[in-house]
Amino acid sequence: MRTTLTEKIGEVAVAVFLWGFRILVVSVVIIGTILTIREGKYTGVQWIDFIVFGIARGSIYAMIALGYTMVYGILRMINFAHSEVFMSGAFGGYFLANAMGQSGFLDKYPVLGLVAAVLVGMLVSAGVALLVERIAYRPLRKAPRLVPLISAIGASFFLQYTFRGFFGPGIYAYPNVKVLSGEWNIFGIGILKMQVVVAVAAFIMMAVLYTIVMRTKIGKAMRAVSENKDVAALMGIDVDGIIVATFGVGAAMAGAAGVLYALMFRQVNFFMGFTPGIKAFTSAVLGGIGNVPGAMVGGIVLGIFESIGPALFLDGLGIIRPYQLQDAIAYIMLVMVLLFRPSGIVGEKLTTKKA
């Protein structure tokens, strides 16, 4: 097919623009980094602090991203209601944690109390996700791709405002867990106990999930359904059941993330899922959507970039108030990764026949 001259010029212009953009961003990053390190404003310990804060944030993003990535893998659909599943887990854990905190149970048996709160959060989110799947997604299984997406957005708003209706627009505060406040000295660096717990919990859960998906029969069934739903059904796999299980597991991860997030930041309100949901979706795409380890890698990378980005890239260039550009840095980095490597950091290139 011969392209006309105007089309050729258009292609060249777009290519030039894209390359120009990439070069601009990379040079800003490199020059900013060099200038900041030369300025020497931050000590080595503070850089490590930045990275640790980033890992803690990133672990939360990673846990939520797992839900997005698994549902995309199975249903080729972005579950926009997932951020509300995260929020409902935090709310579910709140009532138990508050009761435990007020009665003193949390101080006497902190580990038991925390595990109980996380489990309750996981149960509540799994329940919410299953309800949403049954009501908003299953009837639309055969519909064109855009329709379940809109249904997801509608479910997201519905859940947000249902929670607002039940619990009001104010904030609820998680109790202070004494055993988690303070720091541990690891290799001579003081790291907040809360952040260590969050990061370790996230890694454990992701390892468990990876084992389930890769080593168990139900995981094999999940992978089969995500390859080809119809053939999997022919092989005798209960597709509906597998989809329900996927939603449930993804939601449980998000619920645990919700409780951990609320323990770290203490404030729970009906709108809290919005920003973490978007960041988690970004991490899932960054790591390669549909890919479980990808979600984890994407989450950690995004968290670290957000945390260290303003200080490392922008401070040196003399940009005042760099933290207001924190979100801009995160999203520009997403764009850059997608420009250079569209399938994400860990993602594999989809074969054309699947798309």
Partner: protein, 409 residues
Amino acid sequence: MKRLYITLTFLVAVTMILTACGPKAFTCTDKIGCVTIAPTDPVHIAFWGVLSGADGTLGTDSQYGVEIAIADQGKLLGHDIQLTTEDGLCTPEGGATAATKLAVDTTIVALVGSSCSDETVGGIATLTNAGLTTISPSNTRPVLTAPDRSPDYAGYLRTAHSDAFQGKTAADFAYNVLKVTKAATIHDGSSYAQALQQVFVDNFKTLGGTIVAQEAVAKTDTDMHAVLTTVAAAGPEFIYYPIFIAAGGYITAQAKEVAGLENVKLMGADGMFSPDLLKGAGTAAEGMYLSSPDFSLFPAGYTAFVGKYKAKYGTAPLSIFHAHAYDAANIIFAAFTKVAVKDADGTLHVGRQALRDAIYATKDFLGITGTLTCGQYGDCGAPVIAVYQITSSDPTSWNPGTNPKKIYP
């Protein structure tokens, strides 16, 4: 046919005579227009402010003040008073939406609001151009009543103070009382916070202190560790973060967790003056300072007002601008009573420009925040600021005056 014509002509003539000889209808000579209130209709005023989200207590508190004013007033020239509310979300876009919704309602006489300076920035042009006048109980950004403000602000007044005073008091307190010489500020991008921290910075520098860092976060940010690490790298002794409740709670809670900030003194402003701050910040809030209007200097009527507030809503006042909202509503009622014209069948007519002029002409009004006189640029407030200290982090112990306790001047 001829008979029909004669009858019709006769009827038309009779009707015209009767109309001419009947009671005179009111003709509106007001420059902007008039609001007509039928004998059985209520007088409609509106409240716009932040009513939802983490900062909702700021607007709800002012709304309660207006509701108490309405209950105290009872009837206005024989008409009931109806209050409707609009949520401004504490953003310029939210303010613009709320203002648009209110501007199309031609039964509204005047408004109390907004809560956040950002909302006013977004919505005031719509309201002024619709002929409405609004008195804000809690906007504190200095430029809103500055002599060089744009004509879009012709319908805007406020009973709250201007931050030119609040920032100065905070700087005086930090330099002269706490004796700190190195301070840092954090704002959240809102026009209120940016302006207030700049006033603080200018005054602090004039007194002889140094500002080591001026940082900013987004209102919806939750993780403040990174920005606090940057602030810590500059080595401040005092951090002033005049922002709103949600972000303020996060910064207070996380400041103690960042290396280098363990002994730093923290201070917020009136945007954080709420029990929700204690919920969000937890034990870290104990000992922190807040600047706010000085209640102890309010006239005697204030104590009775707080009693009514507690009885009606079952809680100590949620924030600090309830009294200003009460006064704002009463100023509107007084001006309304002055300019409303009642015609023979009991319909009330109120000229919009006349009402606006009457509100601006308010002089020596005995409010519960002081004796108020409105200036030509809309400043009606009596600016007295105090610094309070939080003594307990238990949200149920919130009692302005005791917790937080006034410590300066």
